[in-house]
Amino acid sequence: MSTLVESPQTKSKREVIDRAVIRFAGDSGDGMQVTGSQFTNTVALYGNDIATFPDYPAEIRAPAGTIPGVSGFQLHFSSNEVYTPGDAVDALIAMNPAALKVNLAELKANGILIVNSDSFQETDLRKAQMETNPLEDHSLDKYRLFPVELERLTKLALEEVKIDAKAKSRCKNFFALGMCYWLYNRSMEPTVRWIEEKFHNKPLLVEANKLALKAGYSYCEATEAFQISYEIPPAHLSPGIYRSISGNQALALGFVAAAEKAGLTLFQGSYPITPASDILHELSHYKDFGVITFQAEDEIAAITSAIGAAYAGALAITTTSGPGMALKTEAMGLAVAVEIPLVICDIQRGGPSTGLPTKTEQADLLQALFGRNSEAPIPVLAASTPADCFWTAVEASRIAIKYMVPVIVLSDGYLANGAEPWRIPKASEIPAIPVHFATDPQGFLPYKRDPKTLARPWAIPGTPGLEHRIGGIEKQDVVGNISYEPLNHEKMVRTRAAKVEAIAQDIPPVAVDGDPEGELLVVSWGSTAGSIAAAVKAQRARGTKMGHVHLRHLNPLPGNMGDVLKRYKKVLVPELNMGQLLWVLRAKYLVDAQGLNKIQGRPFRQAELEERFAEILGKRERVQ
């Protein structure tokens, strides 16, 4: 749906549309992530719903101009609800031939293609392994191609600024950003403010970046290059104060909120690892909340220091990704055995081993569920969107403290770096987390449990009369002394399992989105929520009776999970792995569920989900 209006300032037309997908692509040194984030912030502030997909290489700077060095940032913004960063791109900004080559396949026919024509020299083409110049060989004829001399025009605009040529060249991404602001009728104001803040003690850079941004905007205005510009009205989101937030930011804020609500010091033990490091960066700023961040010597010290902090009475967390999780496994077992509250965050990435550090994968569900020696059950939660990371952090902290257990939170690279609008809750809307430290020596025993939650007392050192010993060796029930007694061991193993299993009574039952029974149930978890919800919605619009269950709690599973599975003829579990939840559901509920499995370091596209729905429903029609 679109309406054409005459733009008041220029002779070009302005078209009102309801959504657009834009992708910035360039060298990892071209500032594409900053450019994309700025555009995101601006459209979010305007009131559009958004979803982003930053996609960058593991190397800090792969050789300039080469294919491995390409960094991209995709944004889907709309006046309606946005579920995914979008399958196909409406506008692609390519800063060099390599970026063009990597990203062109996803640009729609007749899509807008802005390229930096200054970087299409022979050497640039060679680096991208192109034999002919695509700007001249008509291979781009099916797109609306706009070759722009970004390098030359930026330098021209910055002629008077007293910085060197290299620094001037680095401003060309803001020239391109200025062009995009014109193209989508957006104010440059938020980015101007950001530039002023970011470079507040480098006035020459403030001037240079502002000039480049405005020059890009004016270039479009003056040359009428595009002839048309677009307007995407604000979305109808539920009332409230909003901000744009990434998954890692939301996790960090969630833990600060949980600590405040529990009245505890937040302690984070962490060792830098992609894509989890930003949580450490974020939390290290919040000393004014008493937050203690400890950059440990390794992943093991990261978790064991957190165990020490929890033992001493903190809300303790450790944050990592798959390889780091593997290193923490023994310590997780200790946390299970000594029954202390602890939250372990795994921001998943492609594996095995080092795998794909910057690419997303639902890699570690089975590791989270089972990756420890012996019987060591741990509650596992997964966040579904960047903003949901906030509430997942709060919920994980609540469970850890209430039940005196370690809890695992699964996020992934896609949620960690992706952003969406978040309705900011008032602090008063976040429920309090009650904490009971044991203080009374009368009748105190370290493993005497709360009959309801089976939690043992949290008896922190420094409390007179509560001196006691705990450790990883099996303990005598109630008393806590070392015990190798056979029946006691079985009792303790079963009790720890029962404690975790009982959490199922304390979490919401499975809620089905869509038909309560029917042909097909789609079960998912984690970051695939958006694309699957969108695909299910589209399929239901075609008349299929089907439902969608998106799980936050993966251990224990909600109590009614088995019943819900029985209400549909077929069950499909799409995952960005080889079928890990699928394996669990088949084992636990003896259901003949099927999988849709993608292991490419990229999220699902809506279209590939719909194709699989059609296949499983026996309707092999082509999906538009």
Partner: protein, 343 residues
């Protein structure tokens, strides 16, 4: 508060638990336990303030026999657990009991990082130069070519010198004592207790089952005086059965063993200064035992307490930021950055 309301002073018995001590009869660990239990009540610290943290190994059963807060963790990780405890409760008196395998092999990384950060934790390293709990494999302090269960033709590893390693890690308190030298051990423990920063004590300990006689060259009656140099702050480095040998500086900065007499007086010798800011002198001392004719020093190699403790640095940073910005407000934090309102 009048003295009448003060609780009775603590005794050794107050630090004993009802748990049966399960080390092999004759193990050096008994002597260390006895020394610690007799020193703790003398420190004037309430019992609930003590936390004994350990890893895995014979020595790491220590917390179960101490009637304080105790945490028997996993292999090698006690220093990291202790760091977390101190970060949250800097006022606790945290002691780590560890062994040569626990602290220097599987947990080597945590040991050096605890020391370089100067976390206010006392580390008691029970060094018996063998793996006892796993029944007799060589350890990272076993001598080269040692024949053990896992090295029937002799070990091929060169050993660590724990004191050198601790000094190399910038530890601010480094000492050595011996399980059977009870009064020296107690004095060393007391000195460590007074130190605010990281304190590292290597305790030479006999494993009479798997490495009996590990230290007899130092502990037997004659050897004790002949081969052991007792370091005492402010006193010359003298040793030998007849107290007639000493350590002297050479013009090139190195040290040599000299015999007193013939014009060599005690004041010509190195006068021990444990409080030097720089660690190079202590490092030189720690290496002398590897040289022919030199004694093995025990006592305080280094005791320099001017460096702030890690836990205090942590707390100070929090205090400073709060003093500057004020205590954080959750609503304000959540609304940081660009926000917009939807009506």
């Amino acid at each position: 508060m009048s003295t009448a309301t003060l609780p009775p002073p603590l005794t050794r018995k107050d630090f004993q638990t009802d748990q049966e001590v399960r080390w092999c009869p004759g193990c050096g660990d008994y002597a260390i336990l006895a020394a610690v239990q007799s020193v703790f009540p003398e420190l004037g610290i309430p019992r609930e303030k003590f936390v004994v943290v350990s890893g895995i190994g014979c020595s790491s059963r220590f917390p179960y026999y101490m009637n304080t807060f105790g945490f028997h963790t996993i292999h090698g990780r006690a220093p990291a657990v202790a760091t977390g405890i101190k970060a949250i409760q800097p006022d606790l008196e945290v002691w780590v009991a560890t062994g040569d395998g626990d602290a220097l092999s599987i947990g080597g990384n945590h040991t050096i990082h605890l020391l370089r950060r100067n976390v206010g934790v006392k580390v008691l390293l029970f060094n018996n130069r063998i793996y006892g709990l796993t029944k007799g494999q060589y350890s990272p302090t076993s001598e080269f070519n040692k024949k053990t269960k896992s090295t029937p033709f002799g070990s091929m590893d060169r050993p660590f010198n724990p004191v050198s390693l601790a000094i190399g890690s910038e530890a601010t308190f480094v000492a050595r004592s011996v399980d059977v030298f009870q009064s020296h051990l107690k004095d060393t423990l007391k000195a460590a207790a007074k130190h605010r920063g990281s304190a590292f004590i290597e305790i030479l300990q006999n494993c009479n089952i798997f490495n009996d006689g590990a230290w007899t060259s130092l502990t037997e009656k004659d050897a004790r005086t002949e081969h052991v140099l007792v370091l005492e702050h402010g006193k010359p480095l003298i040793f030998g059965k007849n107290r007639d040998k000493g350590i002297r500086r050479k013009p090139d900065g190195d040290i040599e063993v000299v015999t007193l007499g013939n014009g060599i007086k005690p004041e010509d010798l190195v006068i021990h200064d444990a409080h030097q800011t720089r660690a190079s002198y202590a490092f030189l001392l720690s290496h002398m035992e590897h040289r022919p004719g030199f004694p093995t020093p025990i006592g305080l190699f280094r005791s320099w307490d001017d460096l702030p403790r890690y836990e205090d640095v942590i707390q100070d940073q929090v205090k400073n930021v709060i003093a500057k910005r004020g205590r954080g407000d959750l609503d304000k934090l959540l609304q940081t950055g660009d926000t917009w309102e939807v009506k």
